[in-house]
Amino acid sequence: MIALLLRDLRLAIRAGGGFGLGLAFFLIVTVLVPFGVGPEGDTLARIAPGILWVGALLACLLSLDRIFALDFEDGSLDLLATAPIPLEAVVTMKAAAHWLTTGLPLVVAAPVFGVLLNLQGEGFFWLTVSLALGTPALSVIGTFGAALTVGLKRGGLLLSLLVLPLYVPTLIFGAETVRRGTEGMETGAPLMLLAGITAASVALLPFASAAAIRVNLR
């Protein structure tokens, strides 16, 4: 299992692996927003939590279709399905590799990008905490979407349409945590709900993803 994780990480940092793509996209989104809405500090500070979370979400989406598509094309997925490790473990490792190459860099870089949107005081702390708790759910839900669309040619658009609605609860509670944190209010409730979504997705969705792949390999 660890071998699969290491292979995916190695593939991600090799040529054409797409490591850093999500991060660069996130940077561009946060740079574009002030151009779009104007440079007033108050306006930016008010929309910063939402924009940062939407940006993180879209950056996650960008690399989802690679999770299984490449392995499907070169036949690795067939071979992994007949290998001794269960398919549930394969999809879990795939989601973990996606989080390490996309989610984790976002968590680390988000406070820096927050400066560009005039995020206030406590917001930096809560942005990091909420992204750290929320991005694993984005990776796991996205892996499920990728598993559903694995056999389709150019299934990327369909994948986005399937996955984005499923991201809504994570987005609501994530952005709410940051907004409350910025305004010095209690953040316990949205943070707990965010953690709950992540825990439930990580526990349940690998089984659904593995089932979807079994159907798609037929």
Binding site: I2, A3, A15, D74, G75, D78, L79, A83, R218
Partner: protein, 214 residues
């Protein structure tokens, strides 16, 4: 019949919901090889994928020891940006088998071990794909057109590897059009097992379709 055999009884397989083969029965014992023959589209790949567990059979029974199959399809499952050693090391780790140096030697890949898989020729890639079978340590090999793009020397190398595998108590099921010169191999022609369109679900599907527009 013993527990180590692969036994197939009255198996029917389908591709995309359409039955392609039915009534297939055979037994493959350790130390034996079975070569599947038949024209293009007869269902050799579908049969192998069903036996490998990638799709469910329509009817019939498959009995075999658990975790016995190493499947090799048309694609080799190689990562172009990983080296030969990294590709093979990954599968060795997945199957939990240790050193793969003897395998590199057996498939004549030693000189290539630091090259990226993407820079190999088609025949070299195929050899690397077949080397994966050797590191799997599984007793029953299922090979779909294993000799595509191999030159004569590599085919001989591969036939040697299969013979060693059989001598070690393994078994092999191959879909291939060429004669590998393996004396132990029996041939199973799949053409007589071709599913008739009117049986199993084919006709029923047509009727449902008609009813929907009646």
């Amino acid at each position: 019949m013993n527990a180590a055999d692969l036994t197939v009884t009255d198996l029917a397989v389908s591709r995309g919901g359409i039955p392609v083969l039915e009534g297939v029965s055979f037994t493959l014992s350790p130390g034996r090889a079975l070569v599947l023959r038949g024209p293009n589209g007869v269902g050799k790949t579908t049969l192998l994928r069903t036996l490998a567990g990638l799709q469910p059979p329509m009817a019939g029974d498959i009995s075999m020891p658990a975790d016995a199959i190493a499947y090799s399809g048309h694609a080799d499952g190689l990562k172009a940006t990983l080296s030969v050693t990294e590709n093979l090391g990954f599968w060795a780790a997945i199957y939990g088998t240790g050193g793969f140096d003897p395998v590199l030697e057996a498939m004549n890949l030693e000189a290539l071990c630091d090259r990226l898989a993407g820079s190999l020729s088609a025949g070299q890639k195929r050899r690397l794909g077949l080397a994966r079978l050797l590191v799997s340590g599984r007793p029953i090999w299922m090979l779909d057109e294993p000799t595509v793009s191999l030159d004569a020397a590599s085919v001989a190398l591969f036939a040697g590897a299969v013979r060693t595998h059989l001598a070690g108590g393994g078994a092999a099921l191959m879909a291939t059009h060429i004669d590998l010169g393996i004396a132990e191999a029996e041939v199973l022609d799949l053409a007589p097992f071709k599913a008739r369109p009117s049986t199993v679900g084919g006709g029923g599907r047509g009727r449902e379709f008609d009813e929907a527009f009646a």
